[in-house]
């Protein structure tokens, strides 16, 4: 891959198989990926100069929205895409309120995921 560390896409999902498969898909599509099994793991050791964050909503102890809100409170300006297997108007409204770029339903539509990543300029 020609892309440097600033092209790294961070993904967070508590389901190990989903996380691994998603990493595989993104890597096969040519993206650099760093995967985390929980929101706390991400907060404990965030990779520097990330391109964007794709996070699952339904995780124990800290949800995707809680992670996004936490990053915003810390002043971290990172494009976030929320992934959920149960989209609802409530989740979408709260996602908008804390500046999450978009909400995608699982199973993920590949094209929309790739379009989102490409829309996040490498920094």
């Amino acid at each position: 891959m020609s892309e440097g560390p600033s092209h790294v896409v961070a993904i967070v999902d508590d389901d190990a198989a989903v996380l691994e498969s998603f990493q595989f898909l993104l890597e096969m599509a040519g993206f650099s990926v760093v995967a985390y099994a929980s929101a706390h793991a991400f907060l404990a050791a965030p990779a520097s100069r990330l391109r964007c964050l794709i996070v699952d909503q339904h995780m124990p102890t800290m949800t995707g929205l809680e992670l996004a809100a936490c990053l915003r409170a810390q002043g971290v300006d990172l494009p976030v895409m929320l992934v959920t297997s149960a989209p609802s108007p409530g989740i979408e409204a709260r996602a908008r309120a804390i500046g999450v770029r978009g909400v995608l339903a699982k199973p993920l539509p590949e094209d929309e995921v790739f379009a989102f990543i490409r829309s996040c300029d490498p920094r």
Binding site: D15, A17, V18, E20, S21, F22, F24, L25, E27, M28, A29, H58, P60, T61, T63, L65, E66, S85, A86, S88, G90, I91, A93, R94, K106, P107, L108, E110
Partner: protein
Amino acid sequence: MSGEDLEQLHRALRLQEALLRSMLNIVPDGLVTIDTKGIVQSFNPSAERAFGYTAAETIGRNVNMLMPHQHGHAHDGFLKRYLTTGERRIIGIGRIVFGQRKDGSTFPMELQVGEVNIEGAHLFVGFVRDLTARREHERRMAELQAEVIHLSRLSELGHMASAIAHEVNQPLAAIGNYIGGIRRLLNDATPPVLRQAIERVAAQAERARDIVNSMRGLVKKGDRPQETLNLETLIRETSALALVGTDSTVALDLVVPAEPAFAHVDKVQIQQVVLNLVRNAVEAMDGAPGSRLTISIEPAGDRVGIAVADTGPGLPDAVRARLFQPFTTTKPDGLGVGLSICRTIVEAHGGTLTVESPSEGGTIFRFSVPSRTDAEDAVP
């Protein structure tokens, strides 16, 4: 015996009789005395109230007029048998029997019978306690309990279906991701048979996904009605309902704000959440001495927070990490969807359900619902 002694004895007897009469007139139990032939000798005011007959209507008649026909018929036989054999069916034992009122209606009653047998007089005294009110109370409680069980079973079923859909969706999502990645590895050198097999895997995954989606569509309810409700009333009623049938040694504290808090919610769903949290808390405390359940209503801007705190042993970390995942349970007969249901409901109300383990012990669950300051359209 001197005349003076006799006079004193008479006075004492008159006093005893007056006392007895006043007692008979005020005791809440019905008192009926009969002779050895079953003929009513006295009938106090409580008995008049219970049976609807006046004393004048019963005295001198057979006591079986106060019993449903089939029992009344057997009564003379019981009485005769007792007098000849001494076989007790009720005397000194007491049992629950049915009485019959003047209007023909019957009612359950607790009957105790005592015996007075002195020279020249052989009487039986029946103490009658009307159980109608108690039975009615028990029936109502049983009804409420059945309602609670039905409500939670129904909701568990619906949510179980959607939880299964969610759980199956995860591996399907993984399969989809792998297929997407594999497709990018295919090139002109890929044997057509492998390409075809991969497309068939993709088609089968798609098929499974359709099945899951239709299952989800099945449980998805239409727009559920939202109403503005007084949260205190809702929580008070629901927690009372949740405590039905539990051996409730639990002290319940309701901490409410000075101004009544109104919320705009789906009543049945929020009841479901409160019911689940209260039941979990009571089960966690397991009747330990000093068990205390505290439910607080805490308005915060456009939302109202609700906290359910128990004094149980707290949650082990291992349980806590998987707490809201469906099919996680510590109960032998639980489905493990309760908290997962609660979280879904709370999220549909725009809130989150969180859990805290305070340092002083116990567990606190917190969630919030949208508040309504104007209570104009409120159901009290």
